[in-house]
Symmetry: D2
């Protein structure tokens, strides 16, 4: 759906990243890391786009990226990053190097939409317009070619679907009613991105732009969007291995798993409602890839682990003549360190998509997500090839 | 290197499999399994070629395959299979179903070339001719369209290279000297395959057809060959995961591993000389894929494990901002159950290659091997694609 | 509480084992194994009492033990054992050897108390008397010195406590009311053991003899009892390791775990109610030993695993200067093969306790249980010592 | 062998710890940690003696301990500790708190005995006297009641035994010959401890005081000694679990293991000679506890792991009716953080032993060692009980 866009040649210009959940662990890590990389203090390890063919695709440089965002917390990014130093995740040296950049970014953080924000009396339309104004003001003040909104806010419980979620016109009407809150918070932010004409990525499993009415609006208004739920650790590993078993004609009987994590995400997911969104996006791809639906999965809040995520998987497989084999994996990583470079990748790639005039869900960005919008492909190797093909063609579109 | 072959339309005809090491664990399992599948007693789980696009490629059917081979042991395939029942690897039901087929195959086993076979006084040329005669007699008696030789004999120590190993003419001369034994046993068998005009696969890490002079002879005499060292378990898993880390721009710092196994292969590899061949073919691909040469690896003979291979890997990876992540994997499988279906695949695919008039190393069969001949590709997903592309094109060649 | 019993010298006489749940996996395995050991077809590996100091304690010999029991299933022990052969757990050879003994034991199986057994109109007192009559008839017909009842029936959900559960007199009254079912099924069986004057062991986490009123009756009527919930795998391992960390003054921060299993027990525990009993008895000891209450634990029904139980634990520990260490364990075993020898041990040891005139809960048998009656000790090494001390002293009581 | 010593009441006085290898990782960590604990900046987690019954045994307080030592490196303890901060092992806060104490301790470091120390022309007797003089000068300058020497220097290769190693008189003669170097470096240090009248602990697997002639001299001259090779991680875990399997009458068939580590110790053990000492002390206890000699074990130098030691064990066990179970463990810890608190424990306990007039090997200190001197007990739980019994009785001896 590429248009012969007037946006051409513009992907490499100054670009804004607007984090919803800007003061969270992932956003703070991404901001700190961006500064460290831009200043040459750290190599861009973990950034997919720091390799060929992406480096020749005319993406915005790390030095071209400017950070701002929304949050409902008053703990600053700098303070958050300092905590991450204390847990041993972030090296003190890099925190020191990025200190001023964190302060600058945090000065760009505006109050987000708080679903528990008290009476208010404001309609969701008004709220979204306020959020959109924050984004356009950010774009204008920094003379940015474009802004990419990345949702990194706390995971919400699954949403009860309403008729308005499927019907753009009905939705727009409902939004103006101050007595109603037809959208979950993540979708208010997504709608604000549409209003601001900003590209959008959903790194969380929350509804966000995933509601059909919003996706349709995005398509109509020329906004490229990508989602959903960052595929960073255990799920990524599963989508690497499951296709390999299939290629060997080995039959997965069951794939059981457990996740242990602390930190902000651990605390959020200790809520049995919130965790449902996450569990369902985590198992969908696996069932698609293996054909087995015996995939028990748990996420436990283990506060003493801090930002470390430990994931154990047990795969039970049938082979030749009914023989059985088992594969166990244990993955241990700082969760935000996995997510942050992919977030920077998404910002760079959606800037290209926007410059190329692409609108609506970009299926080739499925590489980054547990539950890819616009695509049924979960195989990590296949997604990697599709992504490389896409970037070459989008780059050709922009820089012919 | 496909020739417009007179062999056309012939791939699906009756085909012989000639195992070097026919009475070993893998060969006996493959023979038993072939019978069970051919008789509809077991599905072809674990056979790559039992899936699309291979099922439409006109490969010989399982019912078209006839087994014979060489060995230097007097323990029959039936007896060997019975032991595998006792260890719990093979279900009694399938052994019963395959009993007669095992007896028939074992009746086709002829004495192999024994490097410690006493004075003899026979030149290696004479030995190879004897082995070749066994193969052609087998082909003629069973009216086979062709024979594929698969080396499944015990792993040999690495060979000290001699000038004759690089020079076909010098080699042919040396072979006629009864006082010399210029070739290791596996290469005598490989040379016999050439003399018999049989396709050839090296499932072991032994020298086999890997000596340059023999590879050149194979090419000249129109024999398709594939090798080397079956990629069935831990190494396969590594070549699945390592490219995935690379696609994420995550930097593998070290990849340490240990293998525990018993059985015949465990006993052979307890010899520090023999194990050198195996260790070197196991790490070559990993270093190529990761760029790291910190890859300590061990193979331990643990007789109480029988045919079970347990492999543990510890991968230490650098991510964003110098952060570290670890992945551990534990793989536990009956080794011969992994190898046997791939051996049947190779026989079917090399029959196609032969029918298509392909000669010399077939790089696209690299999917099956730790140390692929004619190819530098180790990435399992990439090999899978290449294999599928190849089978389509070879099939088109044979059945236009 | 040892009495100068007239039972002296009698421990080694013929003894009955009466399994509640006689046709289940553990009971069938124990019966098969007992026959195999008694007939010299298998060594008593896994039986604690087959070692010193137990072998000198005058326990009943394996050849002195006779099996009967209650069940509500009509699938015979022989049939059940045959299934266990098919899954690969039991060697065909031993099944053949034990075939007749299984048939004989199954002929001693009587209908159990079925809580969903339809209208009936029978009071629980009447039911328990019927069960007790089965036990005494078994004892008389086989001229047994005594019978030990071992509860191996399906795990029940936790019981809502009623006043009668604490008050023997009130309980006895309530039992006679045909309109009430004051006891869960496991406790009806426990009460039947009391009526029959049989020693009793609770290998399940169900209420059983654990209700205070029943425990008191047992004590009054001279019945030695032991429980609760067999400590065979993951929990045993935890009670081995946790005290070792404490001895090193290393501080357990969290101890997370997951269990995967299939089989009858897996299916039962897939019920969220039933699993509550099990989860609570599994974590109680751990919290006592480590002081940490961050002990998330799951039990997943994975039918393809059959009787194999796979348990993964992740232990996060604080050491010197706040440093962190992790220990992961993966345990994989045939669950019934772990339980069965301990069940035979319990029968032998409770026979001794009965002969020694011990009544009520025997704390020193806590070694065998997740939630030991009459004891707060969970440390496996300490329990082992206590058990050895007890057997010496009980033996001296019986054979002075 | 306790004497009614005039040393009574003296255990709690100011005590010196003299580290051989004072600038190594373990010694620097112990020194830093001692300062942090003494100043109340960190709790004594990981110190066995910080718990009952040790806290009532009149051991020297942490504030009573003064550090000095020998080394052949010129990199100071402070610098070494700084490196440990950079690898993330030591928190910056504690380094800052301990900075001055590290400087003070490093000022007490004297040149050790360097076996490759050039021509010299000095006899080993003269060298040992020089080392002893360093120790006595340290004791006198700080007015210490006693000094405990703890060998923490790099692991040496196994020693070729000479007749002098068994015969004190012959040894004393050989030591005076400037042309001979009859003792390895670790034993020169051990002899120096004897000359200085200092208690001695061998935390390394090097020969040290383990040569019979030196052990005899220690006994004669009233020096309590303890060794050998600190039991801190994988080996400790094995001696916790192996006795538990035995108590269950479960039969260990094989126990395979791999260790990955970097740091100074990793580099030393990359030498195939040096690693032999370590491997042999690591497997001795395991074989004794399990009866199995199938215990393949590896130690790999993986520099990127720094001071982290990762150890994987695979235990294959036979249970009831020949069934098999497996236990795998993965241990990941900062090696020096495990060792350092035990080193402080040993200093405190040997001070008590010295005050109690105990001489020669103290078998009850076997708890701390892979290869305990004077004892065949490897069972960690049994060693823990023995240690507690010993400290009570030694304390009673000193403070009646
Ligand atoms: N590897 C990974 O870290 C990973 C992978 C996939 C998805 N995710 C998702 O990314 C998200 C962020 O993870 P995190 O670890 O940074 O979590 P976090 O709890 O540290 O941060 C979430 C932030 O969102 C803010 N927030 C909450 N509600 C908001 C609202 N209505 N408007 C604006 N801000 C709001 C919070 O105040 C907080 O600062 C989570 O949804 C998580 O599930 C993370
Ligand atoms: N997953 C796997 O099982 C796997 C994977 C890769 C490679 N391999 C290789 O496959 C080979 C076979 O493995 P296996 O487990 O069946 O071993 P095995 O020891 O059971 O069988 C080897 C057989 O080769 C025979 N043999 C030895 N020297 C011979 C000679 N000179 N001529 C003819 N026969 C000879 C032996 O008598 C024996 O019957 C080994 O080299 C092994 O390394 C196996
Ligand atoms: N390692 C172990 O196997 C282990 C460890 C601890 C506890 N346990 C407990 O042992 C018990 C038995 O385990 P299993 O694997 O043999 O289970 P199973 O499901 O195979 O057998 C249970 C048997 O109990 C019978 N039963 C159910 N209700 C009954 C009743 N009211 N009266 C009489 N019989 C009844 C069933 O018909 C079945 O035959 C379970 O409670 C389990 O939790 C087992
Ligand atoms: N968990 C553990 O850390 C652990 C457990 C058991 C045993 N150990 C043993 O403790 C010892 C110390 O380990 P580390 O990690 O501190 O090693 P390290 O390499 O960091 O330190 C060894 C120190 O010894 C010094 N040294 C070498 N030769 C010497 C000599 N002749 N005289 C005096 N000093 C000398 C070196 O210069 C170095 O400073 C090793 O032998 C190790 O095997 C450690
Ligand atoms: Na999708
Ligand atoms: Na208790």
């Amino acid at each position: 759906m590429m248009q012969n866009a007037s946006a051409r040649h513009r992907a490499a210009e100054r670009t804004g990243i607007w984090f919803v959940g800007a003061r969270g662990s992932v956003a703070s890590t991404a901001t700190l890391g961006l500064a460290a990389i831009a200043e040459g203090q750290a190599p861009p390890t973990g950034c997919v786009t720091a390799q060929e063919p992406f480096t020749s695709a005319g993406l915005p440089e790390f030095t071209d990226l400017v950070v701002g965002g929304h949050d409902i917390s008053s703990v600053t990014m700098t303070k958050r990053a300092e905590c991450l130093v204390e847990t041993g995740m972030v090296p003190p040296r890099l925190f020191a190097a990025a200190h001023d950049a964190l302060e600058r970014a945090d000065a760009e953080v505006r109050p987000g939409y708080d679903p528990h924000g008290g009476p208010g009396g404001e309609s969701q339309q008004a709220s979204a317009e306020r959020l959109a104004a924050d984004i356009t003001s950010f774009r204008d003040r920094h003379a940015l070619a474009r802004v990419v909104v990345v949702d990194l806010s706390s995971t919400e419980p699954p949403v009860d679907l309403a008729p308005e979620h499927d019907d753009p016109a009905a939705l727009l009407t409902a939004l103006t009613d101050p007595a109603r809150a037809v959208l979950p918070a993540s979708s208010v932010s997504a709608y604000a991105a549409i209003l601001a004409g900003a590209a959008y990525a959903a790194f969380t499993p929350s509804a966000g732009m995933g509601l059909p009415a919003l996706a349709q609006l995005a398509r109509e208004r020329g906004i490229p969007v990508a989602g959903q739920d960052g595929k960073t650790g255990q799920t990524w590993l599963r989508t690497v291995m499951a296709p390999a078993f299939a290629a060997r004609n080995l039959k997965v009987l069951s794939w059981a798993g457990t996740n242990l994590l602390g930190g902000g995400d651990g605390a959020t997911l200790a809520d049995p409602e919130a965790v449902r969104s996450k569990l369902s996006s985590k198992t969908r791809g696996l069932t698609a890839l293996t054909g087995s639906d015996i995939t028990p999965l748990h996420i436990d809040n283990v506060p003493d682990l801090g930002d470390i995520k430990v994931a154990w998987d047990h795969v039970h497989v049938e082979g030749f003549l009914g023989s059985r084999l088992t594969l166990q994996t244990t993955w241990s990583a700082h969760d935000s360190m996995l997510a942050a470079p992919l977030v920077l990748d998404l910002a760079r790639l959606l800037a290209l998509a926007h410059a190329a005039g692409i609108s609506g869900p970009v299926p080739e960005l499925g590489f980054f997500f547990k539950d890819p919008w616009g695509s049924d492909v979960h195989d990590a190797a296949e997604q990697s090839r599709a992504l490389e093909g896409w970037v070459r063609s989008a780059a050709a579109q922009v820089q012919p």
